[in-house]
Symmetry: C2
Subunit: 878 residues, 2 copies
């Protein structure tokens, strides 16, 4: 096994074993660019290191020394040599960039003797001592894991003694003193002297970088970014070049285009007389890259040339690090630059215009999920201008939200369901129990927690606006208030607005507005539509959502959840009356009160989506979800219903279930109470007939949920057909409608051939299907699945993408059985996976007809569908 590669042996396609940094350095060398020489210890070596219980075996060590010898030959310098010593940097570099998460050691090779030689050779004592003290400090921290402050404290103390504020003011002598103190401190911690043998230093440094793959920061970062923990990191050992050798030296970073806007213009910054870490530390303010033109015109010209070479070679915007050592430019790193979604689209479209890449390549360049950032509502500019900023937290999840504040998930849900308010959930910090409250809130505001807190992570997953870590706020959960510095006080129910893009919090209601798809974004989405074969529909229950979705490119509604309509205050009473009713007649009477409302719902929805198919799912949730929970509410309802508190409580109790997810819901409700299905059918068909009279053609699709047996479907279909056909016949109407079923029960997948005899379409409800296939209750599993993620039993959230091995096999089975019976059957997916790129690719591969997702995920779905089509080499639509 080859564990170590010289830079000259690699290329950009070897990222898996050399890491991104190593592979790109190798590529730059093959392009003839000025890059300091070195070698890469592979990710395989890292994996082996962990397999061997954090030991670097002899074979790897041998190979490292062999490549070191080659490096010494190429550079003419020797590690630890008193005459011409080699100094190297030791840097991490994983397959994908994990900026700042792992460790780096610079100036390795320094020891007491080498330091003197360097001082002599460079004729710069201060430089030599400064390099040595930096090395000891890094080594103590990264390799030995000694407390940072013990070394920093010593440094600060000497600065204090010398009455100095800037590091640069320290003299060589001062630094020598620092070194002595550092070595004493080192010995105190280690019980041995600081290692003078550079070969020992090297091996220890390589091991330390391997270890840093599993530091807390790195683990969290991987989890957030779904990076497998078994990849490991490579280590790059590279000859040091110095940007801190005086006024003709410097170091910087630059992008070939603007990573925020995508503008085609060199973008970056640098520091004169500095090392890389100084740029990161932020003590000195770097200068814009453009100023380099005047200061070092030759270097700038060369750098510009290199930028063009790299962009033409990589055919993408590059993010580069460089160092200028005494007037000579060295490239330390290049990679495809990270960019905002906006920039990604602009660059992709520009690169097509510049004939650098094809439309297909452009479409593949943009991470579909990132489009989410571009479409969330913003505050109206004029409204925002007048708004009063009260405090600022972390911009944890994009968007703008305004709503009445509530301090617990249950209060928020109550206000949402019963008072029909727009709510903002305010919590010290959120926990998995808050999920339902987060789900119905416009936005989430937390006092504690950073960018990776529960609130932040979950809100981003939900595409919901969140400001976290708003430390200035104090919360009083008993009196239900929040305060800022004791003089600004807000009560439960007051309006607050939050901006998830800036972290700003405003003490009032601010009008928001939807965003549009235009410019390069529009061009780009049109290309996506040319390439994709999958249809994209929206999950929407209201005309407002439907309209927004249509503007975002939705081609119909894949899931209209009718139950949301029953929560409106005007209807919920009648619906509760229906639930409480003891006879069919009472039930029918109560339902009749809702019929006109429901008809109006469908009328508006169908009208908004005229010309497109609209899939209406019949009542799905268990009835107890519609009933009041607290004694106070029960009392009120009992009073209104003119029945006793006891008998109402008893009825509510009788509806309680041990496992409601597998209880009396979905089509099972329509079997017990066919009158509900009859009312809903009337509402759909009467709405369609009314639109027909207005010469508007609509295509309602009635969807029966939670079917597991053919006889369930037959029974309910018969009820729907009888009701619908009678209405159509009586009105002499030509209205067409379809009846289909959701496939969300494992058994439905297995008997899909039989279901297709009755169902004109299938829509996969992969949320419930995933729950049942795994036997994981979505409400309960987060608690124990965290152990799964921690113990690496599951690599990523089991609900985030379709589980191809399990759920996917069932979906494939159902699709193929369904088509066997009814070759032209329409196959959709309407669970949350309908907006997940990985799942969309699965749907494309398995020839589904369409995906349906939430409003803000429509562009994601369009792009992901196009990417799937391109990847599978599928022909475009036109």
């Amino acid at each position: 096994m080859k564990y170590v590669y010289s830079f000259s042996e690699g290329n950009k396609d070897m990222k898996n074993i050399l890491g991104g940094k190593g592979a790109n350095i190798a590529e730059m060398i093959s392009l003839g660019l000025p890059v300091p020489r070195g070698f890469t210890v592979t990710t395989d070596a890292c994996i082996k290191y962990y397999e061997d219980n954090e030991n670097l075996n002899e074979e790897i060590t041998k190979q490292v020394y062999a490549k070191l010898a080659e490096l010494e030959k190429v550079t003419g310098k020797i590690l630890g040599d008193i005459n011409n010593p080699l100094l190297v940097s030791v840097r991490s570099g994983a397959r994908v960039s994990m900026p700042g998460m792992m460790d780096t050691i610079l100036n390795l090779g320094m020891n007491d003797e080498v330091c003197l030689t360097i001082a002599k050779m460079t004729n710069n004592e201060r430089f030599a001592y400064d390099s040595y003290r930096r090395f000891i400090q890094m080594f103590a921290d990264v390799v030995m894991n000694f407390p940072k402050e013990d070394f920093e404290g010593l440094f600060d103390k000497i600065k204090e003694e010398k009455q100095i504020t800037n590091d640069t003011e320290l003299t060589a002598l001062d630094l020598k003193e620092v070194i002595d103190k550092y070595k004493q401190q080192y010995k105190k911690h280690a019980n041995t002297d600081f290692p003078q043998d550079p070969k020992v230093q090297l091996i220890e440094a390589i091991k330390a970088v391997f270890r840093s793959w599993n530091n807390d920061r790195a683990i969290t970062y991987r989890k957030l970014n779904n990076i497998p923990s078994d990849w490991g990191t490579a280590v790059n050992v590279q000859e040091m070049v110095y940007g801190n050798k005086g006024e003709t030296s410097g170091t910087g970073v630059a992008f070939t285009r603007n990573p925020a806007t995508g503008e085609k213009k060199l973008f970056g910054e640098y520091l004169i007389n500095a090392q890389g870490e100084d740029v990161v530390a932020g003590i000195r303010t770097p200068q814009s890259i453009e100023t380099l033109k005047d200061i070092m015109p030759k270097c700038y010209e060369e750098f510009q040339k290199i930028c063009t070479i790299l962009e033409n070679h990589y055919k993408d915007m590059q993010d580069m690090e460089f160092t200028i050592e005494e007037g000579k430019l060295f490239m330390l790193q290049t990679r495809n630059g990270k960019r905002t979604a906006e920039a990604a689209i602009k660059i992709a479209v520009d690169l097509v215009t510049e004939k650098m890449i094809s439309k297909e390549e452009a479409l593949l360049r943009v991470d579909a999920t990132s489009l989410d950032q571009l479409l969330h509502p913003t505050f109206k500019k004029e409204a925002l201008a007048k708004a009063k900023l009260i405090t600022t937290g972390l911009a944890a999840s994009p968007g703008a939200a305004t709503g009445r504040i509530y301090f617990s998930a249950s209060d928020a849900i109550d206000a949402y369901k019963n008072k029909h308010e727009k709510v903002l959930l305010v919590r010290k910090e959120t926990s998995p129990e808050d999920i339902d409250g987060m789900n119905i809130a416009e936005g989430i505001l937390t006092i504690h927690g950073g960018m990776t807190s529960h609130a932040a992570v979950v809100a981003r997953g939900m595409g919901k606006c969140c400001v976290s870590g708003c430390n200035e706020l104090t919360i009083d959960e008993i009196n239900k208030t929040i305060a800022i510095k004791e003089d600004i006080l807000f009560h439960e129910g007051d309006f607050i607005s939050i901006d998830g893009n800036t972290g700003n919090v405003y003490g009032e209601q601010i009008e928001t507005e939807e965003r549009k798809i235009s410019g390069a974004f529009e061009t780009f989405m049109n290309w996506a539509d040319e390439k994709r074969t999958l249809g994209v529909r929206v999950n929407a229950d209201t005309p407002k959502d439907a309209l927004t979705a249509k503007n975002f490119g939705a081609e119909g509604i894949g899931l209209c959840r009718t139950e949301h309509m029953f929560f409106e205050p005007t209807r919920i009473f009648h619906f509760r009356k229906m639930i409480i009713a003891e006879t069919k007649e009472e039930r029918e009477k109560a339902l009749n009160e809702i019929l006109e409302y429901q008809k109006d719902d469908f009328y508006k929805l169908l009208k908004t989506m005229a010309g497109y198919e609209v899939t209406i799912r019949f009542l799905d949730p268990p009835l107890h979800e519609f009933l009041p929970k607290t004694n106070k509410e029960i009392n009120e309802l009992a009073h209104k219903l003119k029945i006793s508190f006891d008998s109402l409580s008893k009825r509510i109790d009788s509806l309680k279930e041990f496992n409601p997810m597998m209880g009396h819901r979905g089509c099972r409700l329509a079997i017990t109470y066919p009158e509900i299905a009859i009312m809903q059918t009337k509402a759909v068909i009467e709405a369609a007939i009314k639109l027909e009279e207005e010469k508007i053609t609509v295509e309602p699709e009635i969807m029966i949920p939670l079917v597991g047996d053919i006889n369930e479907l037959k029974y309910i279909k018969n009820i729907i057909k009888t009701t619908a056909d009678t209405l159509i016949l009586n009105k002499n109407s030509q209205v067409k409608y379809k009846i289909g079923t959701m496939i969300e029960i494992p058994r439905a997948c297995i008997i899909a051939d039989k279901l297709a005899e009755e169902a004109e379409f299938f829509s996969f409800g992969t949320n419930d299907l995933t729950q049942l296939t795994y036997g994981f209750s979505r409400d309960d599993s987060p608690k124990f699945l965290k152990d799964y993620y921690e113990k690496n039993i599951f690599k990523e959230d089991v609900f985030s993408s379709i589980d191809e091995d399990g759920v996917g096999t069932l979906v494939k089975m159902a699709a193929s059985l369904g088509k066997k019976t009814r070759p032209n059957i329409s196959l959709g997916i309407c669970g949350e996976h309908g907006g997940d790129p990985k799942s969309i690719e699965f749907c494309h591969k398995n020839n589904l007809t369409y995906v349906s997702c939430s409003t803000y995920r429509i562009p994601i779905a369009r792009l992901a569908a196009a990417q799937a089509a391109i990847k599978s080499g599928c022909k475009s639509k036109e």
Copy 2:
């Protein structure tokens, strides 16, 4: 479509269209036996009748009249004729016998004129009028559905007026008066005269019998016996013969062998001068069939000959009805006689000895499920002799049970779990909410409800002793007492004993004893073992159950549920401490307290089953099941644990789940708390090592429940293997053990090929698999599934037998994928289906290795496995 068959056109194999009775009458005619002639209206006609909304169409009516004409030709009599009138009976007859559930009409053809003719022809006015009045009464009841009491009342009034107690004392004149009154009463109800046209009578009677297929009695009977409601009934129209024509006439029923014991001896009874209904009515006591020998020796001799002919022909014990009309014997019906399980076995074994049938046929003759009756415990004879009978109810479910009485399911569960008592559940009547209480009770006693009450049906399903409808008892649920006639009082916690075979209730504890397999039963079971290829294991958690099961023929344990062991009072505290513990160390300490107990459990269990495989399932239920529920109990535990009530309550609350069935249970517990799996592994392996030291070879199999992903299995297997192998190595032991998994999650079936890489065996947990495949919570679904059964969406209990289309497909998939990876993988089933004959046949067909079932179902499983092997033409073991 042929809707009507003459008796001479049918044979015994046409039961599906002619019904059992019609087919057997036809067969007897083809055997040349004396049978009154007639015809059968088919079950197809019945189905058509219902399809046409309870109308008899012209075609059927036409065919009835055509066959009537044929009958008139054969008999030389004509329906309604004044000179030689034909009288017929109209009887139901379904595919399978539903005794007494549907309706019959006799003497049809009678009217005012015919009655006079009959009187003249028979020279027996009294007979003629009696027949007529019986006919009117039956017609009014069965066809017209008029209140029975309105006619019976009139009859009783006349008897009263005449000061007569016996019907036979009524004179012809009296009966004429009855007829007049009946006709008036009829007119009062119907607003028309009693129909004089016999053809109208006939068609109305046929329709009435069809209708009786759907009367309440019949529907309940079908449900109880899993008879599909779409089969319909046939109707037999047969020339009347009369057993009530004087002292040379009579009627009776007889069996060719004793249906209670199986003894080979004619068994039956008859009445002289009577019609069939008189035997049923029970007003006169019938005589034993043997006495007929002296009274009518010629008839008796002929009857005996016919018995032999029928047994030889049907090769089975026959149940026959006969009538003697003025010295002439007529056979009215024959069928394979119903018998007790004991008789069934005796007869089957005897028939083999008599060379009438083969062993295979004998094995197929006995309903496997019926063996359940033979093995339930009985009271010890000496103990029973001394016991005091306090009252008697209905013998609702066989067995004998003794225990402390509790009046609610929760109190019973509490006493069982926390006081480790044997409990008897006493309820006014049970409801689905009582299921858990019924399940842990020794037996169930109810005040209300008959043989088909909830308690009776569920108890029979559970194989649990039940006495229902014990009306003499009064229950005081507040003071928790039961009383009999105010002078006998029992309090909660007192001992009572019930006998489910007799309905007797005793006011004390009575020792019970297990029953054995011996005699003909033993012979029979040995034949079953010769034929079957499926292994049969038991689901048992205690050495006692294991021993009983071994005596019943169990070949190992297929499921030992370890959680039951934790409920013992000595252990539950430590287990609760483990649950409450906040650190791994505390948990390990608490578990350590349980280790020795658990080791002892396994030691005894393994020892009992030495030489056989014993599958031990690791902890499965959610932890909250082990924690106290009431405030009082929580307080007690908090005190013992030295923590506050609040913090304990909080911990208990934190374990509550929305859908516990899909929550933190099964292998998910071992992932969060590996220390539980480690403790259980130690217990198993240390027990095995101890037995090894005693030179007893045991074969423990460790089963990991609720696995859905390969990584779950890998993680836990690794923990178990490390723990076990260390113990074995340290003790220098040769103990062998296996690690396998339950397949009870749909996803496990789909990825079974992967699971088989790690699992040495699969055991299908079809209970949970059925719940998840259908998405039916077993706790909640009974409430709404009743609508499914009523609406004929499901034909039978969805949990009673394996659902071959859905769950079965998953099982087949898992079996075949598992074998692909590991050809010799052991495949068992350990859900309740392991004791269900239909499911056992499925397991045989799909080449499973064994079934595992509850103790009392072992013989059922052995027989069902043999039957499955015979049916599939499989070679026998030897």
